[in-house]
């Protein structure tokens, strides 16, 4: 899953390992320009919208009271607002209201939103089986900032199989990726080998001789004149995946944490472990970035229409999806759930807490530019809907943190002005260092029909 290469010694419980074989190569397959520094990016998806003003006279409980600069003190004082939870990180935040999804859902708002949120692509298929017609931003970024063979982390806290399961990450048009949802398994792929240089050399040699043989076999198969396009594509993807790199990098967490992950090895899909799994995943992501095992990724929390039953004030609630509909039904019609808007707000607070947890972790590691890892990152807490019952695609919550090595103008809450959200994604792509060939801002992610551009107010 992951290529391990560089290492920051002695930090955050990580241990030393040996740099080995390959050297850094940026944007080897990029058609846009190559970034010159490492900026880490990550995308966390909450489902079912957030509780914000705009439906049925429900009060505003999400965004801060006023646009403009953010300070820890001002944000902390707005205790009736979800985002006040992030007050400690006020200086690192870029809160963006006023972005919308461009394409209507094909009969299922959740699926339509989920498939657009990181792709800004049009949709194909109907209802819950909708797919995106373009790659998602994590893959776009990965192809430009990761070294060859390094993939984005594709993570999920929730069940692998569901009415709408994972739908966030696309390696290409309709090429939905599977998401890892077992934290211990993710950890084992991050964890490298530790051995003497001689032994590492032996391992590399063994692997190379097997790889050479397998390549020869794959080439024979690919040489078959009667392959269908699908067969050829599938085999070629495998062929391209074979690499002679990656020996001897260690990304290590302390034993107690690893035992905790191991302890839920068979229950990681269960409702009771949803938040725990999400936090493990975020912790692993911070570790992976600290070790430079990958530089981008995604985390989907809950199914497409998050059916998790969260605990609010210590009480197990109805499913989040039903709370977001305000009725005891997965449709629009059913017995009203008392105080559902407040429950929705309190679930938003849980997500804000998880995001804060992630920011705390990133801030605890040093970053390549000398500050914290958070300073060298841009991480996003987004949603595939904007609010509860209307399942609206307008004013989707976009909560960004991290300065992206100084690119983003942080510490502010802005209104993008009801623009399509591809402009936000374009801005993030620039934040990780990708530019057009002529050096101008990259401005064309997502569906070709969308208006191009970035959100200049986000940029320093």
């Amino acid at each position: 899953m992951i290529n391990r290469r560089r290492f920051l010694s002695g930090v955050g419980g990580a241990a030393l390992a040996l740099p080995f074989l390959e050297s850094v190569r940026f944007g080897s397959r990029a058609n846009a320009g190559s970034p010159e520094k490492h900026v880490y990016s990550f995308f966390i998806r909450q489902g079912n919208g957030c509780q914000q003003a705009g439906y049925n006279n429900e009060p505003e409980r999400f965004w801060p009271q006023a646009l403009g600069p953010l300070t820890t003190a001002s944000l902390a004082s707005q205790t009736d607002r979800t985002l006040s939870v992030l007050a400690d990180h006020a200086a690192s935040l870029t809160l963006v209201r006023g972005t919308r999804f461009a394409f209507p859902g094909n009969g299922c708002g959740h699926s339509g939103g989920l498939n657009q949120v990181l792709t800004a692509a049009n949709l194909t298929g109907e209802g819950k089986d909708t797919l995106a017609t373009g790659e998602s931003i994590d893959w776009f970024i990965s192809r430009r900032v990761n070294t060859a063979g390094m993939e984005p982390l594709t993570l999920m806290a929730g069940p692998q199989s569901a009415y709408i399961a994972h739908g966030l990450s696309y390696s290409g048009p309709t090429q939905l990726r599977g998401a890892r949802n077992n934290p211990f398994a993710v950890y084992t792929t991050l964890m490298g080998l530790s051995a003497s240089p001689e032994v590492l050399q032996q391992i590399a040699t063994r692997r190379k001789s097997v790889n050479d043989l397998v390549r020869e076999e794959m080439q024979e198969l690919l040489g078959n004149p009667e392959l269908s396009t699908a067969d050829r594509t599938r085999l070629d993807m495998h062929f391209q995946a074979i690499r002679d790199i990656e020996v001897g990098m260690a990304c290590v967490l302390d034993d107690a944490k690893v035992s905790e992950m191991k302890a839920i090895q068979t229950q990681f899909e269960g409702n009771e472990n949803r938040i725990k799994v999400a936090q493990f995943m975020l912790e692993l992501t911070a570790l992976a970035f600290a070790c430079d095992a990958t530089r981008t990724g995604t985390l989907q929390i809950g199914e497409g229409n998050d059916q998790t039953r969260y605990y609010v004030d210590g009480v197990l609630q109805n499913t989040f999806h039903r709370i977001s509909h305000r009725v005891d039904s997965d449709g629009s019609d059913g017995t009203p759930i008392p105080n559902a808007d407040m429950l929705h707000h309190k679930i938003d607070l849980i997500f804000a807490g998880m995001f804060k947890f992630f920011l705390d972790k990133l801030a605890s590691y040093p970053g390549p530019s000398g500050g914290t890892l958070l300073d060298d990152s841009v991480v996003v807490w987004t949603n595939d809907l904007s609010n509860g019952p209307p399942h609206s695609y307008s004013n989707v919550p976009q909560v960004l943190a991290g300065g992206a090595g100084g690119f983003l103008k942080t510490g502010q809450y802005i209104d993008a002005g009801n623009v399509t959200h591809n402009k936000l994604l374009n801005t993030i792509i620039n934040a990780v260092g990708v530019r057009n060939g002529d050096g101008s801002y990259y401005d064309s992610f997502g569906d070709a029909s969308l208006q191009r551009g970035v959100i200049t107010a986000m940029i320093k």
Binding site: R177, S209, G331
Partner: protein
């Protein structure tokens, strides 16, 4: 004798109008092993006492297509390639350091021969004999191993490296179908390719020695030879797990386990009951298949497998504990899968029935009637009426904007199940008013049925061609591991006819498929045709 049989079969194929004479469809040729298949194959290949557990950490496949063996899911990313590399090395290490496992592969170390090891192990790992050039290639790998495995003797090093190599080879990871010799209708799969199709169909694993021997003897090129082996495989206990896998996905049984109900409204509910409903449904389905039942039995049988909790829900008298006992349910209250607690409780809310969901599921998954996705639903619909049926009718019935889909297609089916509450208990009243479960439904071809309740509806569904075709379609999709194509509609129709008119069992239908051209022959054209 066998020769006579073959001739008789060929004659039947030539003259008959049965499914075996249909042309094959173009299909992709290299399905990758699913993670479950990888696990079972490795366990069989090395005779491991337990599954290795390694696929639990493989990069998961995305949820594309109806079944987990759909070829659209089975791609190999660099993450999964890496997982395969790690797993291959882990297994290879384990085999050479575990004396019992090593002895199975190298019974006589003193006289061991590398070429012989590669040939024998390769036959099982690749599920076909290795070509000479392949043997040479692996010999080279074997012989180079001693230098990079100083911890093992030279032979052991070679075994370690050969295993690691073969488990990463495309011929292990994919079910490669390489035959190219055309005959009239397409390209018949060769003996070993048929053997693999059969073993992965019935066991989700590699062929056993008997199947490999049949392939070697060349008996898998004709329908009778295939039928003989398929019958043997079907009767093996491992097949039951595979049909469980099919039904589990086809009927979405996985969703039963995670249900939640209001315990005040339903004193018979506790959290564990959802899992019991799942187990009950699976036992019911297993037994229909394994006792040579057919599609009709799935919808009409009153056999049930209940423990103390489920007995209360079904109102079965007697003494029950944690064990599941076979009982006959009251035929006036229950008929087949759709009147079982799991389906009914899954398609219900915390306290109330959900006729719309029940109706949608049966249309989509029992009748295979597509329903367009709902339009944006207006807010604040005002419901009126006393019962759930009346309330739903008031917002989706005649004269409402839901009339098109709900009034004619979804609701009439869903309302038939109003005799079962949100945990599947039988009831005659809803909120103190008598239940009305009678309705009528028109199939897409215009044929109308009317029924008094769910028992009546289930019995009529059990003799409806659409239902038999729907089951056949899903079964075929699972058996072939891909979406069906236009040309496959012919065999689906034939299978449905066998199922309905000839009252063939599910086992017989499966055997019809495996002896058909659809299963044994691939189309000669390169590009798969477009979807139906």
């Amino acid at each position: 004798m066998q020769r006579l049989l073959i001739i008789a079969t060929l004659f039947a194929v030539a003259c008959g109008n049965d499914v075996r004479s249909q042309p094959p469809s173009a299909a992709d040729r290299f399905p990758r092993l699913t993670h479950a298949q990888w696990e079972a194959t490795v366990q069989d290949l090395f005779h491991l006492p337990e599954p290795s557990g390694l696929p639990a950490s493989f990069t998961p496949d995305p949820q594309l297509g109806r079944f987990d063996n759909n070829i659209a899911r089975l791609t190999t990313s660099s993450g999964l390639w890496r997982d395969y590399q790690n797993a291959a090395e882990a297994i290879a290490d384990r085999v050479v350091i575990t004396p019992q496992l090593y002895a199975q592969l190298v019974p006589d170390p003193a006289n061991a021969d590398a070429r012989e090891f590669i040939t024998t192990f390769g036959l099982h790992a690749f599920r076909r004999p290795l070509r000479d050039a392949e043997v040479e290639r692996y010999l080279e790998l074997f012989n180079g191993a001693a230098a990079v495995f100083p911890q093992y003797d030279a032979f052991k090093a070679g075994v370690r490296q050969t295993i690691a190599g073969m488990l990463q080879a495309p011929f292990f990871l994919y079910r490669t179908e390489l035959s190219t010799a055309k005959d009239g209708i397409g390209i018949p799969l060769d003996n070993y390719e048929v053997a693999s199709r059969l073993s992965y169909l019935f066991w989700n694993s590699m062929p056993d020695d008997e199947l490999l021997a049949a392939a070697k003897a060349g008996t898998l090129l004709d329908a009778e030879g295939v039928r003989e082996q398929a019958s043997r495989l079907f009767d093996d206990p491992r097949t039951q797990a595979q049909f469980r896998r099919f039904h589990f996905q086809a009927f979405k049984v996985s969703q039963y386990a995670d249900l939640d109900k209001n315990t005040t409204t339903f004193p018979n509910w506790r959290k564990e009951v959802g899992g019991m409903m799942q187990e009950e449904a699976m036992r019911f389905l297993d037994n229909v298949v394994m006792r040579d039942g057919g599609v009709a039995e799935l919808l009409t049988s009153t056999k049930a497998y209940v423990n103390a909790d489920l007995a209360k829900i079904y109102g079965v008298r007697g003494t029950f504990g944690d064990e599941y006992q076979e009982v006959d349910l009251d035929p006036a209250e229950r008929a087949g899968l759709l009147t079982r607690a799991g389906f009914l409780a899954k398609n219900a809310t915390l306290t109330e029935t959900d006729p719309i969901r029940r109706g949608v599921f049966i249309n989509l998954d029992i009748i295979c009637r597509p329903i367009s996705a709902p339009p944006n639903i207006p807010d604040n619909l005002m419901k009126t009426g006393n019962t759930t049926r009346e309330k739903i009718d008031s917002i989706t019935g005649e004269g409402t904007c839901g009339e098109g889909c709900h009034h004619t297609i979804i609701n009439p089916i869903g309302f038939a199940f109003e005799n079962y509450d949100a945990i599947g208990q039988y009831r005659l009243q809803d909120r103190g008013y008598p239940v009305n479960a009678a309705d009528q439904y028109a199939f897409p071809d215009g044929r109308e049925i009317s029924y008094t309740n769910a028992i009546d509806l289930s019995k009529q569904l059990a003799v409806s061609p659409e239902v038999h075709a729907c089951y056949a379609q899903q079964l075929l999709e699972f058996m072939l591991g891909r979406d069906l194509q236009q040309v496959d509609k012919v065999i689906v129709r034939e299978l449905a006819k066998e199922s309905l008119e000839d009252k063939r069992s599910i086992k017989e239908i499966v055997l019809s498929v495996v002896t058909s051209n659809t299963f044994r022959v691939r189309a000669a054209n390169v590009e798969p045709r477009s979807q139906p």
